[in-house]
Amino acid sequence: MAGETLIRQMAAGDREAFGSFYDRYASLVYPLIVRIVRDRSDAADVLQDVFWEAWQGATSYDPGRGTPEAWMIMRARARAIDRVRSVRRRGETFVAPVDEKLAAAPDVAGGDAAERAADRDVVQGALSQLPLAQREVIELAYYAGLTQTEIAERLQQPLGTVKTRIRLGLERLREVMGRAT
């Protein structure tokens, strides 16, 4: 069943539709959340928040503004970044991840998280098709939650350069991803 239909049914309070909706989209948004928050128990919390919001906000979904996939991905990214920022703020209470695969990554508490997001050697998928300088700024923004000013400071680059790189990177990404489908 199409995602849009499921959301409509959820808006009408259909709990079974919610189950199907979860089955369909949880495995899509979960890797993104893990990638951003990195701690798996945090990721599970964020995932729960994201779907709870989707259930409560189903009536406000507007197909004209994007696909259900984009609706969920945007929500997941936003909530995961909220979580990372709040963890960063109360850095001292952060407990380093114990998950084996994630243990190699330094914790999110320090500013290092952003650097790690940019040069992690995990598979970068579609982003790897961008020139490094463009990929770097998009990852710092989208996955590490840094603002343009923070990125400029971190990379020691003029603000204008950072903005231009983001724009070029995103234009290229739209082109590449448009072609892929």
Binding site: L32, F51, G66, M74, V176, A180
Partner: protein, 258 residues
Amino acid sequence: MNHDPFDTLAAVYAVGALDGDDLVQFEAHLAGGCSRCRTTLRQSHEALTRVAQAEPRAIPPAEVKDALLHRINGTAARRAERRSWVPWAAATAAAMVVSAMLTGGFVASRYEGKIGQMAREVSRIRDESRRRDTTLTAQIGEYRHALALLGKPATQVVELRGSGPAAAATGRVVWHEHSGGYLVVDKLPPLPPGKAYEAWTLGGPAPRPAGVFTVDASGQGRRKLEPTGDAPAKGFAVSIEPEAGVTEPTGPIVLASR
């Protein structure tokens, strides 16, 4: 007007990295109804979504779905209970007994959840008020611009008359040769999706585009007009065009100066 800077701001906004004055400026621009930026944002989000879709999927822990279904069924059950206060009171009493038996850790995690929810609510309200603030700031900027124009001796006020499909429409341009101007319109019919009104300055060898705008449900709209540079403007017109704007008029003229 040159749209290029907004293309850049739209990209930075799409990855959530816009801040400071840029953010204020872009949100004001977006609140003005720029369909080009909306399209850029939608396409950017779709592209970023496809990046996520291209990544390998991962099955989340099963507890998450269980917890969600429990939560949803819980709210549905509570809704039903409210209809009669007796079972509701019994449920409340039971809940009180149960919660009294619970460990501090559970209570703490509940509060943490509540605090998280409140924090999101606060941040939503803050975003909302910032958006309103941005819109108001943009409006004040426009009014200030129009007011500053009126204070200059060389400023003219030019009446526009409706024609063609908008015979009842009226318009007025406050115009200063070097500072540009400000157009207000009334009773222009709302347009179908994909279309917008475009203002033109006349007087050169060909009409020059002065900006695209839309009107609200009552047919009112306004638009800041850029100065024309060397050739002085001798008149103004408004036509119906594709929403992205065109460089020379193609659609029917709906307003024109005498």
